[in-house]
Amino acid sequence: MLEIIKPGLETSIQDFPGRIGYWDQGFPPSGPMDNWSFRLGNILVSNDAGAPGLEAQFMGPTIKFQQDSVIALTGADMMSKLDGESIANWQSIAVKAGQTLVMGPAIKGSRGYLAVSGGIDAPSWLGSASTFHKASVGGLDGSAIQAGQVLPVKAGSGKAGRRVKDACQPQFSSDKKWQIEAVAGPNDDWIDEAGHAQFLATEWKLEARSDRTGYRLDGPDWTFTEKATDKPPENGVFPSNIIDQGYPLGAINLCGQKPIILVNDGPSMGGFICPYTVPSAAFWKLGQIKPNEFLCFKKISVEEAQALRRTLDDMCNETSIES
């Protein structure tokens, strides 16, 4: 049992891959933003890679353990302390009943993960425990964790002293610039050559008004092909308007002139074009970038994006662990 002393900033229960199969009803998958770090945390404590754990954002929670347990912290470095002693990320640690874990501000990366051996025992909402708090769905009661709550934990078999190999840990940017892969499409033919060149040459600043729904990017205006201007009126008045379409998760959605990357809790459909899509293997970077840092996009093919995904999945495995 985990007793929540302080909740942190919208710390939430998430599992991986989340709520899959309800996109046609408008339900997003939710799930951890950085699923690489999340999965490694679970593997460290001998859980299924997708078992329910906690995602802390920017400012972590304070948690008192009501029983002996084995935990792992992964993702952002949140200067975590156990009973006042610093503890490191990327390893499994034994905790005693009565000990208190303080996860502080994220000093490197944005999102930290707490995996507990056995996994958090949260109900399944449409097949997933992931919290989608905007619609009050998932987690224990549809919302982020709150002070005074006690989170039940299932029995586990985790052992202390396991560690993620250095080469298998995600490397966070140290110069505020992140290279993010992007695949052209589905609506790339609405953007002209100059628009594409500019997209790939620009350092896009992540705006503070970004959350698990969408990442708003600050940068230059886009330019369009005839497809955007010569179209039936029901497509809408802006060049970037299209008859409402389904949005791929990761779509770089052009809302007027404002690109918004649609992430884990994003909308399933709408009336704006999506010239590029961030592939699943690059989502962990979106999970760790901070507002006012910069995204530089690198165009890759569908096949390259799929190869990256295989490499990432292979890394989220027991072979990444040393004792």
Partner: protein, 290 residues
């Protein structure tokens, strides 16, 4: 236009957009829903899910199980085996919603918008009636409640249906609020562009509002069997009919919803035949109004 051949384009490493055309035309949505049904039935390895929208279908696949190229080939083969859209017969449930037109709650919401954002905003039912050349709001109610509505897709918010009238004599259009409202009552009935909808929960919104239904289309606590274990009521391809009721009937329904005894009015035995539908609308004088 309706494209001769659908357009396929990738969305990252795990999505394909299949675009059937670039106009608002139910024919395109029938094609998208027909393909979604064929995909489900075919059980194609690597298919995760698909989501139809007005003129396109978004397909989510698992690249470990099927390549982009092979999925496109599979989709093309399913499209050709479906043949003419006219041959489609889609599973379609019919829901009837008791609706109080010109209710006090959406009125309060509109009044609040007038007070805080735009004092010149005309009362929505009068505005929509005037814009569409109808006599008054009472004819708007007759026209709006006179047609079945087709659930073309769900989105923007989980469970929020995008509805198109199936009877062309009920086709009305209006602009959305600009700027949008900061709140809308749960169950509000309204429209924007040519699409109408029911608000599943209280959310911001931009549709012109002219009624409210007490009947939930969002049930996270699983209180009603009609949801069949789901949280949202509708699936693409369902149909909805609004039944105008009095305030007394509205209140009675609301009481039953509160104590859990409300019986949803759902008809499940029908299939929607695109051919029969087209034959019927071709016989109609589309300029007529109820």
């Amino acid at each position: 236009m309706i494209f001769d051949e659908p357009n396929f384009s990738p969305g990252g490493d795990r999505y394909i957009t299949v675009e059937f055309g670039n106009e608002m035309n139910l024919e395109l949505n029938f094609k998208a829903q027909g393909l979604a049904g064929a995909l489900r039935e075919a059980g194609t390895k690597g298919l995760v899910e698909s989501a139809p929208c007005f003129a396109s279908l978004l397909v989510h696949y698992e690249p470990r199980d099927i390549s982009y190229g092979d999925m496109v080939t599979e989709l093309k083969s399913l499209i050709s085996s479906l043949g003419s859209t006219n041959d489609l017969e889609l599973d379609s449930r019919l829901f009837t919603f008791e609706t109080l037109y010109f209710d006090p709650w959406t009125k309060e919401c509109i009044d609040d918008y007038r007070k805080k954002i735009n004092p010149d905003k005309e009362y929505d039912p009068d505005f929509v009636a005037r814009l569409n050349g109808l006599e008054d709001r009472h004819q708007l109610m007759r026209v709006h409640s006179g047609s079945e509505y087709w659930v073309a897709s769900l989105g923007f918010w989980p469970g929020l249906p995008f509805l198109q009238p199936l009877d062309p004599r009920a086709m009305i259009t209006c602009p959305k609020y600009n700027p949008p409202r900061t709140w809308t009552p749960q169950g509000a009935v309204g429209m924007g562009g040519s699409a109408s909808s029911i608000y599943p929960v209280a959310t911001p919104g931009g549709y012109q509002l002219f009624g409210r239904t007490p009947v939930p289309i969002w049930d996270p606590d699983k209180r009603f069997d009609a949801f069949d274990g789901d949280i949202v009521l509708f699936r693409p391809g369902d149909r909805i009919k609004y039944q105008p009721v009095t305030r007394d009937a509205y209140d009675a329904a609301e009481r039953k919803i509160k104590d859990g005894s409300y019986i949803y009015n759902i008809v499940e035995y029908q299939k929607f035949s695109v051919r029969n539908y087209k034959n019927w609308i071709n016989k109609l004088d589309k300029s007529e109004r109820f």
